[in-house]
Amino acid sequence: MFTMTNLVQPDTVEDAYKILMEKKNNTILGGCAFLRMGSKRIDTGIELSKLNLNQISEDETHIIVGAYTNYRDLETNPLMNKHFCGVIPASVRDIIGVQLRSIVTVGASVFSKYGFSDLIPSLLVLDCEVELFKGGKLKLSEFMDKPYEKDILTRLYLKKSDAKAVYVNLRNSVSDYSILNAAVSKSGSEFIIAVGARPAKAKIAGNASRYLSVSDLSDEAIEKAASLVSEEIGFGSNMRGSEAYRKSLCSALVRKAVKEVLECR
């Protein structure tokens, strides 16, 4: 069980950031469902409920998701179901149960770059930017590659487009963590393929995505793209699956996702 000496609920992001930087062990609290299973020692826990970051909104060009939005809101929000073939709701709908999804926050999953995340691969294949209080806006893919640095994730910006996207995974049981998951998007002729739960953090398969984007999309081309993903993305082993199993599984999942995204309307 984690321990927390102090707990604050700041009224502004500026105050939250100031407190965060005061001590090494000061930490932003997300939904805390995962935190409770660890033994982290927190000096001051910074709880962001009062910052109104739990909204999903839109402007002319983007869908804006507050970092304190919970997964259940992502799953049921009409905007999320309307855009990108509903890939975001599809990626979170099988995480444990309704009650947990009402607690888990988008910001905690994305900022922590959880390897087991079902959400991150789907965000990676869309045109998604993260907004950090100090670091400003940057593409999610760049953020995923950066080393950890203290900051506060405030919002995600999903650029509206005609992109179609699909999320697929394999689990031992329906509400378990994914053994492996993948997302594929198609915008015009451009494809983006991302794989997560490797079990390391999710990653875009750049070579395979480029190959598929210029291919004739025949069965052979899809097969080759799926093989390329398996070759360029590294895998590891954990209690849910071995490296070799994940590598074999990856081709099948990506092939399935590509075929599904081609049928997406």
Binding site: C32, A33, R93, V98
Partner: protein, 149 residues
């Protein structure tokens, strides 16, 4: 720290520790319908409503409930009794340990889903585990309660 909540329609203030979870806070103050089993966010036994939405009270820091509306099964006794009778009629009430959390989720589902399909019912109830019944009796009871085939 002190949190102020409206619980089952009444305003209450509770003293909580920084790393205390809502299930512990509520049980400490007499809401003993809330059961705790897994404490790893898996079983759904500790389900309460926060602003009318079902949440796992074992995984929700008490401070997150500050200023919000909590509903436990004690606040829904009439509806809960109505559904519990259907559970008994289907022989799916065996040890009863999971029943309060399960009933809270079913009552939330009734408010949220209009005329759900069997698939939607099963998906909504995924987060509630029962080690006794095998779920089929529960499913029949839920369908009877919701008036769906």
């Amino acid at each position: 720290m002190q949190i102020n909540v409206v619980i089952n329609g009444k305003s209450r203030s509770f003293e909580t520790d920084n790393n205390e979870f809502l299930a512990d806070t509520l049980r400490k103050h007499g809401f003993l319908s809330i059961r705790q089993a897994c404490n790893t966010s898996c079983c759904g036994l500790c389900t309460v409503w926060l602003d009318e939405k079902p949440v796992l009270s074992c995984s929700l820091l008490s401070v997150k409930a500050d200023g919000r509306k909590i509903t436990t099964i004690e606040g829904l006794s009439q509806e809960a009794e109505e559904f519990a009778k259907l559970l008994m009629a289907e022989g799916s009430d065996q040890c009863g340990f999971c029943s309060p959390g399960f009933i809270m989720t079913v009552l939330a589902m009734k408010r949220e889903l209009q005329n759900p399909t069997e698939e939607e019912i099963l998906h909504y109830l995924t987060g509630n585990l029962c080690r006794c019944t095998g779920y089929m009796g529960q499913l029949r009871a839920v369908k009877n309660y919701l008036g769906v085939k």
